[in-house]
């Protein structure tokens, strides 16, 4: 990257300490492993299981994040090849194949592979699966049984964006279900770790997570203004402390506070995250971790990414202070995440379908000129609905979408030259629809 390229995108200073938390997460779990302390690999579970595992004193890492890390450092290819030659179909989730390949190699060596980025993931005592949102996340930890003797606990949760959940009484039995699930989980962990749950600690951790998410939500609300003060790249870097709540949560909370202040001061001083904001875009779904520099090139052309995948975002804040049982507080917090983004759709009597509606709200609230859709050749879940998003944004809001195929891990599947050619053309399209929206009386 040349210097003026660096200048095109204006990264937040408060992002760097938050980014550092990730390295610490891996370091801590490796040390815990060495010290024979309990460790777990977790699927992102949207705070359903995290506080419980944490309260039981387990150090956690998140193989999905590790997939991104391996992709970013170029280590992924060897692990993908390994899973491939072990007979797993190549269309399967890149994160999963990376994790399978890594595990196979680690168990073969009997130690963390020397080439493993971030110091590697230590052999876990427990695998916490969470099927939320995607089949892969139900299946992949079970598959690791081929290589690991670590037991799997599968967290179950109702699915987001289901209209039937708006029927009377349904939400309550859904919550009841989650709470029952979590109770079973606690008893299991007590048996596994040979220690009783410290309920006060659980309550404290839960509240810290809720506080972190509330603050993180407020930060992203600030991005609605012109010019947008925070680019998706900063979001993707900083979401970790919310999505992977490991380590000292008080520290994370404090870092988010500092971040809020920086973003707020940018808003007050009309400082944008790209030098000259010409186009505001919403991104869906998972970014090409191996090619993030692509966004710097787009920043030079005045593209600002002002909002992204709702599934990475915290729940819309609700008051849970009256909920006494910490397990129920956890359940309601996560349930709010998986229903909150759809309520307006259903209340408006519109049927949108899971994943599509939030982008409509985003495009409106964040005044987007276009959507950048990134279909993944190895991830059905983040891809299935993109045609629908494309179609609805145009029909309802005259907001065009740019579709660029790629992958989260396998960089062979992303072609920056071709992407740039499409992007340049897309500018003309965004200009065109800006006119159209004006004619039709939209306010952006």
């Amino acid at each position: 990257m040349t210097d003026e390229k660096k200048k095109a995108m204006n990264r937040l200073q408060t992002m760097y300490p938050l980014r550092a938390l990730i390295d610490e997460m891996y370091k801590r779990s490796v040390e815990a492993g060495k010290a024979g302390k309990p460790t777990a690999w977790c699927m992102v579970n949207w705070w359903e299981g995290d506080p419980i595992v944490k309260a039981m004193g387990m150090e956690t890492v998140y193989p999905e994040n590790y997939g991104a890390a391996c992709a970013a450092t170029g280590a992924a290819q060897a692990y993908l090849d390994r899973s491939d030659s072990d007979g797993f179909p190549t269309h399967m989730c890149g994160y999963a194949r990376n994790c399978i390949g890594y595990t196979a190699r680690m168990m073969e060596l009997g130690e963390i592979p020397p080439e493993a980025p971030m110091g590697g993931m230590t052999k876990p005592m427990l695998l916490v699966g969470a099927g939320t949102l995607c089949d892969a996340r139900y299946k992949w930890f079970q598959v690791l049984g081929r290589y690991l003797d670590a037991p799997v606990w599968m967290l179950e949760i109702p699915h987001p964006g289901v209209r039937e959940f708006m029927m009377e009484g349904v939400s309550e039995h859904n919550i009841k279900f989650i709470v029952e699930e979590l109770r079973e989980f606690v008893t299991f962990l007590e048996r596994l770790v040979g220690r009783k749950m410290d309920w006060d600690k659980l309550e404290e951790i839960t509240d810290d997570i809720i506080a972190i998410n509330r603050l993180w939500f407020e930060i992203n609300e600030l991005r609605k203004v012109r010019p947008c003060p925070m680019h998706s790249r900063d979001f993707w870097t900083c979401m970790n402390a919310s999505l992977y709540p490991s380590g000292d949560l008080k520290v994370s909370l404090d870092l988010y506070r500092k971040m809020y202040d920086e973003v707020k001061s940018r808003v007050d001083n009309k400082i944008g995250s790209v030098a000259d904001e010409k186009y505001r875009l919403v991104f869906a779904e998972l970014p090409p971790w191996h090619s993030l520099r692509f966004f710097d090139q787009l920043a030079e052309r005045g593209w600002n990414f002002v909002i992204e995948s709702w599934a990475y975002h915290p729940p819309k804040p609700i008051d849970l202070s009256k909920v006494s049982d910490p397990l129920e507080r956890i359940a309601r917090h996560t349930y709010q995440w998986l229903t909150g983004y759809f309520e307006n759709a259903f209340n408006a009597g519109e049927y949108w379908g899971y994943f599509a509606y939030p982008y409509l709200e985003y495009a409106k609230d964040y005044k987007c000129d276009g959507a950048f859709l990134h279909p993944l050749l190895t991830c059905r879940t983040a891809t299935n609905h993109l045609m629908l998003v494309h179609d609805r944004l145009m029909k309802k809001l005259n907001v065009p979408s740019l579709v660029v195929e790629g992958d989260i891990v396998d960089l062979k599947l992303f072609d920056p030259v071709d992407a740039m050619r499409k992007a340049e053309t897309f500018e003309e399209i965004m200009d065109h629809y800006k006119k159209v929206r004006r004619e039709k009386g939209f306010d952006w």
Partner: protein, 262 residues
């Protein structure tokens, strides 16, 4: 007396056009070969020779296409999709949809009356959606690519290509041959399969008339026929369809020039 140049370095062939007052004055085409830089220079020389000009007579040059990045001259680089839209617009102002079939990909482009792109869809990274598919089929059947269109027109019962992939298509063609099915029926089937691909691209961006075809595919009578049958419409076929993108580049060159002036 302002002259403008558009250079389109495709992965297969390189095309150049010189225009004056928005009208093409010279066309030239060369195989791209392996050295884009060299071919671009050669292309420019021969173009200039045709209208008997020297490089300094050209007021503005726009370069585009797969190899545009490695062209040593030219005032600006523009994405081929935009050039294609402008090019077709300069010939058929009534066109709102253009089907551009190139060697390596196909694209369907929607444009407004000013020739601005309003939507587009590019075939996926799969040769099945491009002219390359026909090349592959021609190659495996050992027929000359230029005969493939006319050959297909002779087909009575085109085979159904159910696969969506060129390489599948290849093995499918082989298994059809081994079942004793005639070359014309297979070729016609290949054309139909490509026509299907194109119509799904069209489903994404929507078809608004008039609709034109450009790119190398515009030279293939068999393909034009099967696309027309599939869509149930008449396609406008410009003169020199393979030059439309280069022409558009020259037109944009003209616009940029005037824009800079005033």
């Amino acid at each position: 007396m302002a002259w403008f140049m558009g250079i389109d370095i495709g992965s297969g062939t390189s095309k150049g056009v010189i225009t004056k007052d928005g009208k093409p004055k010279a066309y030239h085409l060369l195989p791209s070969g392996v050295n884009y830089k060299a071919v671009a220079q050669k292309l420019r020389q021969e173009l200039l020779a045709k209208v008997d000009l020297s490089p300094k007579d050209i007021s503005y040059t726009v370069v585009t296409g797969h190899g545009a990045g490695s062209i040593p001259f030219g005032n600006q680089q523009v994405a081929d999709i935009r050039c294609c839209a402008r090019g077709i617009n300069s010939i058929f102002p009534s066109v709102r949809t253009v089907i551009d079939i190139q060697g390596m990909s196909s694209q369907v482009i929607r444009l407004n009356e000013e020739g601005q792109v309003t939507n587009f869809a590019v075939s996926e990274r799969c040769a099945a959606g491009s002219g390359r598919f026909l090349e592959i089929i021609a190659n495996v059947l050992r027929i000359d690519l230029k005969d493939i269109g006319s050959l297909s027109l002779r087909s009575k019962h085109p085979v159904a290509f159910t696969t969506g992939c060129a390489v599948f298509g290849e093995s499918e063609a082989i298994s059809r041959v081994s079942e004793g099915i005639s070359k014309e029926d297979i070729v016609a089937g290949a054309h139909k399969a490509l026509a299907n691909k194109i119509s799904t691209l069209l489903d994404r961006v929507g078809l608004e008339k008039d609709c034109a075809i450009s790119g190398g595919g515009g030279l293939n009578t068999g393909l034009i026929k099967s696309v027309e049958e599939k869509l149930g419409i008449q396609l406008l076929v410009p003169p020199h369809p393979q030059f439309i993108t280069a022409l558009g580049a020259a037109i944009i060159a003209e616009e940029r020039q005037n824009h800079q002036k005033g």
